[in-house]
Amino acid sequence: MSALRLVKQEIVSSSVSSFIIQDCFTENFDIYKISVTDLMTSAFCRLNLRFVNSAGSVISTGSYAFSVAEETTGSTADIKGNTETAGFLNFFGYGLASSGTNSQGSDSWIFNPYQSDTYTFGVSEASSNGNNLVFGKSIGGFKVLGKVTGIQINQTIISGSNPTIDSGTVSIYGLKIS
């Protein structure tokens, strides 16, 4: 197993509804770590993951299966899941307005994205701090054979007007098994 190597870093500095990090997955590595810090949004929303294929297209079909278990400091816990949906929902937790002490952080791992003969899998844990601490632990499977070369991070509105992603840092690291 190789050392963890920084492959790409993306800093969000303008408001977008989603953004793509292209060509972060290559034949050089088998496993990837995605560290997302303080990905702040204009309103409360979910932060989701989709993949980009080798043609450069975001895959938005219902080819994703995911499950996320959430814990809060309050009295509630939640489990979400879907076997045929258009992304890994809440893979990076929740986006919060970039004010005050609001913050977000997540640590995610993607397995075998560049191997065309196996599905791409992911695991993630994410924390978001607004009025309350929300923690989520996710698994995801992307049920398409073929090379995945990049990611899209998008948001899903929870209530109110359509949010934008305004700031944050995404760092992608690679590991080589052999």
Partner: protein, 207 residues
């Protein structure tokens, strides 16, 4: 600069030789060397009831990784993995820590949650035992320690052979909801001393 053996992981093509200018370029781009940078390692060498990381380089990293290995105390069924943080050199011991965690036991017969908005500490395990192999290992990612305008928070996952004795795991989120600069970490056992531990603190490289 020659290197020995295969090195297939470089993000830039190379012919097997690194020139000084290439090293400088890779270093500047952040691609030279590993991306988990060891800040400090502390290994059991005698009876103590606490371990302190007091130079966590919070100015250099916004994400820290703390790895726990083979953690065990001398007393039975005690928390061996309590954490309190230093803010500007002052240890926060008040009931201000938040936790949102879930525990599972291998028997399948038990699961519970650890939830609080008024805890005096974080912890990353359940009651540890003092018999052979009743030890804990796990990790914790901590965010924004050096950012005095943000809360410091963390996610963690651990597994342990507890005092039951059964296999447990625990995962969840942790937060110190105070806008402050965190510059130190105290790990301590609730009762007695440590009989085993290895703690390693890393900074996650950023450009």
């Amino acid at each position: 600069m020659p290197y020995i053996g295969t090195q297939p992981n470089d993000v830039k093509q190379n012919t097997g030789l690194y020139t000084p200018s290439e090293i400088l370029e890779l270093t500047k781009d952040g691609h030279w060397g590993g991306s988990l940078e060891l800040i400090k390692e502390q290994t059991y060498s005698g009876s103590v009831n606490q371990v302190i990381f007091d130079e966590i380089q919070e100015e250099n990293y916004n994400v820290h990784l703390l790895i726990f290995e083979k953690v065990q105390g001398t007393a039975d069924n005690v928390q061996t993995d309590n954490i309190q943080l230093f803010e500007n050199g002052v240890l926060e011991t008040s009931n201000v820590y938040q936790v949102a965690q879930r525990n599972h036991r291998a028997t399948g017969s038990f699961t519970n949650v650890s939830r609080s908005t008024a805890s005096n500490q974080w912890n990353v395990g359940v009651g540890g035992g003092n018999q052979a192999n009743e030890k804990l290992s796990g990790y914790m990612y901590m965010y924004n320690a050096g950012n005095s305008s943000k809360f410091t928070f963390a996610s963690m996952h651990s597994s342990m052979w507890s005092s039951d004795p059964h296999m447990w795991h625990k995962y969840g989120g942790l937060c110190l909801p105070q806008a402050s600069k965190v510059d130190g970490i105290k790990i301590y056992v609730s009762s007695g001393n440590y009989s085993s531990y290895k703690f390693r603190l890393f900074g996650v490289k950023k450009i």
